[in-house]
């Protein structure tokens, strides 16, 4: 696992060097995603990064609307852990590596890259559904 992650990091660094991309973290807008489009990927969880300010979920699977791409790793971004717990019913162990899942997402506008903003994930084994719309918290006294 460690070597696997290190390899991923190395690959990512290589990508950064090639593209001249800076490593910056912060609260950011989500308009790099095309929110007018919804796609669906079926596959297995690779990794859940339960971090602030944006949780991410990697899935190795096939996107229904991009079947020509075949099986590939896609990275989905979400809001913060705290907001996911409140607005989407998430837990840190809501999904685990290897879990079969179906994810609905808004894809990156840059169609060369396999990424998106997660809207909903369904865990195949349990049927549990977790969402990511933090604007669903806009009333007092929620339970």
């Amino acid at each position: 696992m460690t070597k696997h992650l290190n390899s991923m990091a190395v690959l990512a660094f290589a990508g950064v060097a090639a593209l001249g991309i800076a490593s910056v973290s912060a609260h950011h807008s989500a308009t790099m995603f095309d929110h007018s489009t919804t796609m669906t990927i079926n596959g297995e969880v690779v990794e859940l990064r339960w971090v602030n300010p944006h949780v991410s979920l990697s899935i190795n699977g096939i996107v229904k609307e991009r079947a020509e791409d075949g099986r590939a790793v896609w990275v989905m971004e979400m809001t913060s852990p705290g907001n996911l717990v409140r607005a989407g019913g998430w837990r840190r162990d809501a999904v685990k590596p290897g879990d079969a899942v179906e994810v609905e997402f808004s894809p990156l506008r840059d169609s060369d890259r396999k990424g998106g903003a997660l809207k909903k994930v369904t865990v195949a084994a349990t049927g549990e559904v977790f969402t990511a719309n933090l604007r669903e918290q806009e009333r007092p006294g929620l339970e």
């Binding site: 696992m1 460690t2 992650l5 290190n6 990091a9 990512a12 660094f13 990508g15 950064v16 593209l19 991309i21 800076a22 490593s23 910056v24 973290s25 912060a26 609260h27 950011h28 807008s29 989500a30 308009t31 790099m32 995603f33 095309d34 990794e47 990064r49 971090v51 602030n52 300010p53 944006h54 991410s56 590939a72 790793v73 896609w74 990275v75 971004e77 809001t79 913060s80 852990p81 705290g82 907001n83 717990v85 409140r86 990156l108 506008r109 840059d110 060369d112 890259r113 396999k114 990424g115 998106g116 933090l134 604007r135 918290q137 806009e138 009333r139 007092p140 006294g141 929620l142 339970e143």
Partner: protein, 276 residues
């Protein structure tokens, strides 16, 4: 001869002592924060109940970004229009870079995260979630702003109660702190920003923060706006630690089996670099 020598030594030593006294002025007495009394704690019960966790009305932030924009000066208005266009085109400017705090007043204006408000004698404390360093200390003990400016992300805040409304006056905010109306539209205030807030319950479980923001380097007039927060008491809303920098890393283990963080990469807009 000997008496002349002693007299001269006396004059030299006396002069040195005088000079020393003049170069090290007497230290003013320390200003002490007195220990709270039982009455001070009892008086807290007379304040309005702002307990619980407050989460923002983001849809109203979105609405006001368009319907009640700040009176940007001509130069900044052009910058803001470009930011709007870039955001719409999917190239949102990263105005909260480097995981710095959103700062005051942008925390109030554009936060997507919850906060809590604590009352203690002589102080109101606002604690936010998600960047681990989101904290406002509002002194209600009658002190004034300091004579010497020492700017910080959240500035120096003093407050007083007018009935059930907390009136907060904030100065000394870092010039780099952005005045933001969305996560992709905002500019550094460039200095001399002054914020007055009137914080009050609009309804039993709805908190309003009425802001009046003066930022002479970027605005042509004071900007008035209101932000809305909802009270939650369900335990799942309890504020959790949120360290923004963790977003730059993933969890891993090193060759010795120790748990560590290893970096991930981000685009210039702040999202993860997705695979090709």
């Amino acid at each position: 001869m000997r008496s002349q020598f002693l007299a001269m030594m006396f004059i030299v030593l006396a002069s040195a002592a005088t000079a020393d006294a003049q170069s090290t002025p007497k230290k003013p007495p320390a200003i002490i924060n007195p220990a709270p009394t039982a009455q001070d704690y009892a008086d807290l019960a007379k304040l309005p109940d702002w307990s619980g966790v407050w989460n923002p009305k983001i849809t109203d932030q979105d609405r006001q970004a368009r319907t009640n924009p700040p009176p940007w000066n001509e130069k900044v208005a052009k910058e803001a229009e470009k930011m709007w266009a870039d955001e719409k085109a999917g190239r949102p400017k990263l105005i909260f870079y480097g995981c710095f705090p959103e700062a005051h007043p942008s925390w109030m204006l554009v936060t997507h995260n919850a906060m809590e408000i604590l009352f203690t004698p002589g102080r109101v404390t606002m604690l936010g979630e998600s960047d681990g360093n989101r904290l406002r200390r509002i002194y209600t003990d009658g002190r004034a702003h300091p004579d010497t400016s020492d700017p910080t992300f959240h500035g120096h805040s003093i407050g007083h109660w007018e009935g059930d409304t907390l009136v907060v006056d904030t100065v000394d905010i870092l010039p780099q702190a952005p005045l933001a109306i969305s996560e992709a539209v905002g500019v550094p205030n460039d200095g001399d920003m002054h914020v007055i807030e009137r914080i009050h319950l609009a309804e039993k479980d709805i908190l309003h923060v009425d802001l009046e923001i003066t930022a002479p380097k970027i605005l042509t007039a004071p900007w008035k706006t209101t932000r809305i927060f909802f009270r939650q008491r369900a335990r799942k809303f309890d504020i959790v630690e949120g360290v923004c920098q963790t977003g730059d890393y993933r969890e891993a283990q090193d060759d010795n089996g120790h748990h560590i963080f290893v970096p991930v990469e981000k685009t210039e807009w702040g999202n993860l670099v997705a695979p090709k």
